[in-house]
């Protein structure tokens, strides 16, 4: 079977810095996989390349058998590849329902389902139905993360890219979002690729981890394998002075999780 997503020799350089360096891997339809890597490893840049927000210097991305080279972001969304952002980016000045409705207006889905009803159903599915009419400005951060996922779901994706869906969440808020992602994978048959820089959250969630460092894929395998992988351990422990964006040091996580 041809993979749903096939990345080959992808490269992206910013001035002197190689942010994504010869990355190749593929995802089978129905798979749920994670990209692991310390801050600055190039994970978000990889997502930006896959979704057309950045143009790669070389390499190819095939989605559903089609080369995505040169396609603008909205067209890639309409092929069924949706993403969320690492920092929540709600549409300011609009209600929660309206935010999701915008996704429901994507040409891919708008003719098959009434946008408003579909948006309500999606809010129900992510547990935001009670907030439908609230302006996004009043949402707590955990709900913004759900909204971010809801808006991507609204476009009717086959592959969902989640950029650090747990970023900024406390320990008690992570589990419900994790359960939501598992549910989307299990019941909707969605293929999911998510980024996380703490291995702990991956253990129960994904079947495969792709570990990156300095723009390269350094290891790939089941979470249990990755935990013991010497290059992954080195990537984390070798830089235990680093502090992550959420203010927690990622150092030692592989050991803690093992």
């Amino acid at each position: 079977m041809t993979p749903l997503l096939e990345i080959q020799g992808l490269n992206k350089r910013f001035a002197g810095l190689v942010a994504v360096n010869d990355v190749s891997f593929s995802l089978a339809a129905g798979e749920i996989a994670g990209i692991l890597g310390p801050n600055g490893a190039g994970k978000t840049t990889l997502f930006n390349l896959l979704t057309g927000f950045l143009a790669s210097d070389s390499g190819s991305v095939r989605f559903d058998g089609r080369d995505l080279a040169g396609e603008p972001p909205h067209q890639i969304v309409n092929r069924g590849l949706a993403r969320t952002f690492q920092l929540c980016r709600p549409f300011a000045g609009m209600s929660v329902l309206e935010n999701v409705m915008v996704g429901c207006l994507a040409p891919r889905v708008r003719h098959r389902h009434a946008p408003r009803a579909r948006a309500r159903a999606i809010l129900e599915a992510v547990g935001l139905a009670h907030r439908a009419d609230a302006p996004v400005e009043v949402l707590p951060y955990g709900d913004l993360r759900r909204l971010e996922i809801a808006r991507a779901l609204a476009t009717g994706p086959r592959l969902l890219l989640l950029d650090e869906p747990f970023a900024g969440l406390g320990a008690t808020e992570i589990e419900p979002i994790s359960a939501l992602i598992r549910r989307l994978h299990a019941s909707e048959g969605l293929t999911i690729l998510l980024i996380e820089h703490r291995l702990r959250e991956f253990m129960q969630l994904v079947s495969r981890v792709i570990a990156m460092d300095f723009g390269r894929v350094i290891a790939s395998g089941t979470p249990a394998d990755i935990v013991r992988h010497p290059r992954v351990i080195e990537a984390y422990i070798g830089r235990d002075d680093e502090v992550s964006e959420t203010g927690e040091p990622p150092a030692g996580e592989p050991r803690g999780a093992a």
Partner: protein, 310 residues
């Protein structure tokens, strides 16, 4: 809530429609006609810039394009004045494509600056190509669209109301939602499947088309056109009217423009202090009510929610 709004709108419209029965002064009816034209300009500015958040510093480009097209066809070529309406609107719409297509695909200030520059350049061109545009004096001696001042009043009021309602309907539609998402976060809109460049350009064409119609009405109301219709001062005063009315609401700028255009007349009794008072009122409003005045007030009176169309 909806009922109160509908009642409010009907009362205001009925009062405006009945006004010529009480006002016999042709001068005053003329002033009010111009107020409605300002209303068209402000509402059309708000449709593009208020909804998508891309500010346009040269709305006068579209106004002047409409006005000069109408004046040229009527004053120089000798067409009947009504031809100006479709021709002026089409000219403004065409110019909006020329500016919008190259600049709206870029982020940053390119669009705003290109609009400012284009309007200024057009003002210079009217001086350079004076054989066609009449230079400094412009093109005088145009035919009015309708003979009586009361008829012109109703024409301007009618076009103003139709354009405002049409733009409000669009703003409240799915398309309006898409345009507002671009203002909310352009990258996120792309991630939600929105072709942001296309929608910004389409909104600009609609905005230009309506502003052009306003420009045609203005030229024939004045029975003349001068290079001032391309001026930066006009573009800026429209933006001020929108901010006073409440940006992004369309009806706020519509009402704000009519009232602000009327204000200098109401202050006429103050003589030489008129401009001072006018400016102070504006500064006061923009300083103490950054959300504008009309739209928030209307929402409070009719008990509406924030944002969006009424």
């Amino acid at each position: 809530m909806k009922g109160r709004r509908a009642t409010g709108v009907i009362v205001v419209l009925a009062a405006l429609a009945a006004l010529p029965l009480f006002i016999r002064s042709e001068y005053l009816l003329g002033i009010l006609s111009v107020c409605f034209i300002y209303g068209i300009w402000a509402t059309s500015w708000d449709f593009m810039s208020g909804l998508t958040g891309r500010e346009n510093f040269g709305h006068a480009l579209f106004i002047g394009a409409g006005a000069y097209t109408a004046a040229f066809l009527n004053g120089k070529v000798g067409f009947a004045p009504w031809w100006g309406l479709p021709a002026g609107a089409a000219m403004a719409g065409g110019l909006s494509l020329v500016i919008g297509i190259p600049t709206l695909r870029l982020r940053g200030p390119y669009f705003a600056l290109a609009m400012l520059a284009a309007a200024t350049i057009m003002q210079r061109l009217t001086l350079i190509f004076w054989q066609y545009s009449g230079g400094e004096e412009g093109i005088p001696g145009l035919d009015p669209l309708l003979e009586s001042k009361a008829a012109v009043y109703y024409l301007c009021l009618g076009v103003f109301v139709v354009i405002t309602l049409a733009l409000l309907l669009l703003a409240g539609s799915h398309w309006g939602l898409i345009l507002r998402s671009i203002r909310g976060d352009e990258a996120a809109a792309q991630a939600a499947g929105v072709n942001v460049t296309f929608h910004k350009i389409a909104a600009l064409v609609v905005s230009a088309f309506c502003a052009g119609i306003g420009g045609v009405l203005y030229a024939h109301y004045q029975e003349a056109v001068t290079p001032d219709v391309f001026s930066v001062a006009l573009s800026i005063s429209i933006i001020i009217m929108v901010y006073v009315g409440g940006i992004g609401s369309l009806y706020g700028p519509a009402a704000g423009a009519v009232l602000l255009a009327l204000l200098p007349e109401l202050l006429r009794g103050l003589g030489q202090y008129r401009l001072w008072v006018y400016s102070l009122v504006l500064i006061f409003i923009l300083f103490f009510a950054p959300e504008g005045v009309i739209a928030p007030l209307w929402r409070r009176v009719t008990g509406g929610a924030t944002g969006g169309a009424p």
